[in-house]
């Protein structure tokens, strides 16, 4: 794995207008509020956080499926922020996404051949027999066969549908793929199959991944580095081994401690923090985690915490380590 960045994101912000009902506005929902990250060639960055933390929005912003309000996204040094039309479409072949729910991301009226071949047609990369050959080739890579070509999505199981979703994202020859909770809708035994597939594909093609999930064990399994997100900001980023060996941020610690372990001999109190995450409309002042933080100090409610470097490639945003 070389250290050339494929994706560099700096100061990314996205605020959505929050509706209070009856056409009134309740202010701004700060979905992503100043996120910077870098993903190197052939590497998987795991982005972990709870619902509403803004992790999916980060994925959408990088691929410009949602337009950022502020900040930059560089793909191999090239600024994507202001690209439009054909140049944007050209770059997008190299950037792909796999969604959580293959049920809703596959058109029920299209055959598998059509679904997987559509990106080729759209990008005018291949036609006719050549396109068919490429579709068959990709289906083979994700563990599906020629006999599946003329079937419809409903004829497949959840795991197979996710394979189709992956095949569709691979067919244009991407370099960077965003996986947005790709196994959350799947059963455990099938989840393992898909995770293995995702890892095998990376090994054989050198893809760069952003892997978004709320599931810590899954993120741990697939990632090289992990970024933890809370209420629109990254609170901690570190190489996987470093992070799981000794998380610095109290939120990362809480996440790890409240995840149940599959071992009845290691039972412990899972209620490590109290309360719920506040809404991104009413972001707490200072450190966003301070109302739930077991180690909060007076400064935490007043000043936003600094971004601190606590080790090689290990940054944490917390007053405790200032």
């Amino acid at each position: 794995m070389s250290l050339t960045p494929v994706i560099e994101v700096s100061g990314l912000k996205k605020y959505f207008p929050a509706a209070a009902g009856w056409g009134r506005s309740a202010g701004l929902l700060k979905a992503v509020d100043g996120v910077s990250l870098r993903i190197n060639q052939g590497e998987t960055l795991g982005l972990v956080g709870e619902s509403g933390s803004g992790k999916s929005t980060v994925g959408n912003l990088i691929l410009r499926l949602v337009e950022p309000d502020q900040g930059r996204v560089l793909f191999k040094g090239r600024d994507l922020t202001f690209l439009k039309g054909p140049p944007l479409r050209q770059v997008r072949r190299k950037l792909q996404m796999v969604f959580q729910d293959p049920q809703s991301s596959l058109d029920p009226r299209m055959t598998i051949r059509k679904i997987v071949g559509y990106p080729l047609e759209l990008n005018r990369l291949a036609r006719g027999r050549e396109a068919l050959q490429r579709v068959i080739g990709i289906l083979d890579e994700v563990g599906l066969g020629e006999e599946h070509l003329y079937r419809y999505p409903h004829e497949f199981s959840g795991g197979q549908r996710q394979r189709i979703g992956i095949a569709r994202s691979l067919v244009t020859g991407p370099e960077f793929i965003v996986f947005d909770e790709p196994t959350s809708a799947l059963d455990v035994s099938v989840q393992a199959q898909i995770l293995n597939l995702i890892l095998d594909l990376q090994k054989s093609h050198g893809y760069t991944y952003l892997f978004i999930s709320h599931d810590l064990p899954v993120v741990r399994h697939v990632s090289h580095r992990v970024a933890v997100m809370y209420l629109g900001t990254l609170v901690e980023t570190a190489p996987k081994k470093v992070l799981f060996a000794g998380p610095y941020h109290p939120y990362t610690q809480a996440l790890m401690a409240s995840a149940p372990k599959p071992d009845p001999l290691k039972r412990r109190n899972l209620a490590v923090i109290t309360g719920d995450a506040p809404s991104s409309v009413n972001v707490p002042p200072g450190c966003r985690f301070h109302p739930r933080c077991p180690r909060a100090r007076p400064v935490c409610s007043q000043e936003p915490p600094p971004d601190l470097k606590v080790g090689p490639e290990h940054t944490v945003r917390c007053h405790l380590y200032a």
Partner: protein, 326 residues
């Protein structure tokens, strides 16, 4: 299974089917399990394995037709629930057996305040006055550690977060002082930090009040942290029942082993996860014999022909597999 007298709930050879346009789905195939007083029994399996159908059958919550129970008994305190007249069944629901569901929003009425709904339940089941009912509600909300219980009573469900709603549901169900609480994936829709809080409350309260729990989940880690015993279901059959430590230390059924190794692998540094090949079969046309045999790596001669019975292989450890013929 263990002696008749000590079981609060006993399900014996329960079989059931759904009539669908595609055909008859045999969703339960001779399901047997038992629950002792004060115990937390985990019922685990993948989607479509019949765990929710089993649980809902206990309260007869599934409309018949299309659902039909084709055989077996469900004994609650020794009486067959399947033979109860509707009046008695109604008294059983809520009073003796309560249930909480995955998505609390769909169990709460959006147009009434939390206090309104909770007090209705308390009134209905305990026949007390308004003031007393309110006291009971406040006390229960306090027990599920909802701060500001007074204010919560005046709120509508949509004003609460998912975790708070689930706590309201737990408070409501436990206010009836049931003997058995059926919890159907109560934390699946919640974030992990909130799940931790809910599981802790659930375990503490039910143990303190001596309530038995049938805890349904697809998550083996939750089972490991919460349950005393575990029943594993696959494609409408109970394939293994054991104490939680035995099950994790020495799972016997090939399916259970696959299930456990596909998650424990995630906790360690491994390159390749163990997985079970293939997919869960359709229940309209399930495989003959052992329903797991097409995915099993240790298939024996009788497996495709003969459905294995659930038999004890060790004290307290039951198994339906031809690999261990008693």
């Amino acid at each position: 299974m263990a002696g008749l007298t000590q079981d609060l709930l006993r399900i014996e050879d329960l079989s059931a089917e759904f009539r669908t346009y595609q055909g008859v789905a045999k969703v339960l195939n001779q399901v047997s399990l038992s629950l002792r007083p004060g115990e937390i029994l985990g019922l685990v399996g993948e989607s479509g394995c019949g765990k929710s159908v089993t649980a809902r059958s206990i309260l007869r919550l599934i409309p018949e037709p299309p659902f039909k129970i084709t055989g077996g008994r469900i004994l609650f305190r020794g009486r067959d629930v399947l033979k109860l007249p509707s009046g008695e069944l109604r008294r059983l629901r809520g009073n003796s057996i309560s249930m909480i569901f995955q998505e609390p929003m769909s169990s709460l009425n959006p147009v009434f305040t939390v206090g309104n709904q909770m007090m209705e339940v308390v009134n209905l089941h305990q026949r007390v006055g308004r003031t007393r009912a309110r006291e009971i509600c406040l006390e229960m909300l306090h027990q599920v550690r909802l701060p500001d219980a007074d204010r919560i009573l005046g709120k509508y469900p949509h004003e609460l977060s998912g975790g708070m709603r689930q706590r309201v549901m737990i408070a409501m169900e436990l206010s009836c002082r049931p003997d058995l609480l059926i919890a159907d994936e109560p934390t699946t829709a919640l974030d992990v930090t909130i799940q931790g809080q809910i599981l802790t409350i659930l375990a503490e309260l039910t143990r303190r009040k001596g309530v038995s729990v049938l805890f349904i989940t697809h998550d083996m880690s939750v089972i490991a942290q919460l349950c005393d015993r575990v029943a594993v279901m696959y494609a409408g059959m109970v394939v293994e029942i054991a104490g939680v430590r035995d099950l994790f230390a020495a799972p016997l059924h090939p399916y259970t082993r696959g299930l456990i190794s596909s998650i424990t692998g995630l906790e360690e540094e491994t390159d390749h996860l163990e997985h079970i090949p293939g997919v869960v079969p359709s229940l309209i046309d399930p495989p003959g014999g052992c329903r797991f045999h097409p995915r099993c790596d240790q298939e024996l001669d009788p497996c495709p022909r003969l459905a294995p019975r659930l038999i004890p292989v060790e004290p307290g450890h039951y198994l339906a597999c031809h690999l261990y013929p008693g």
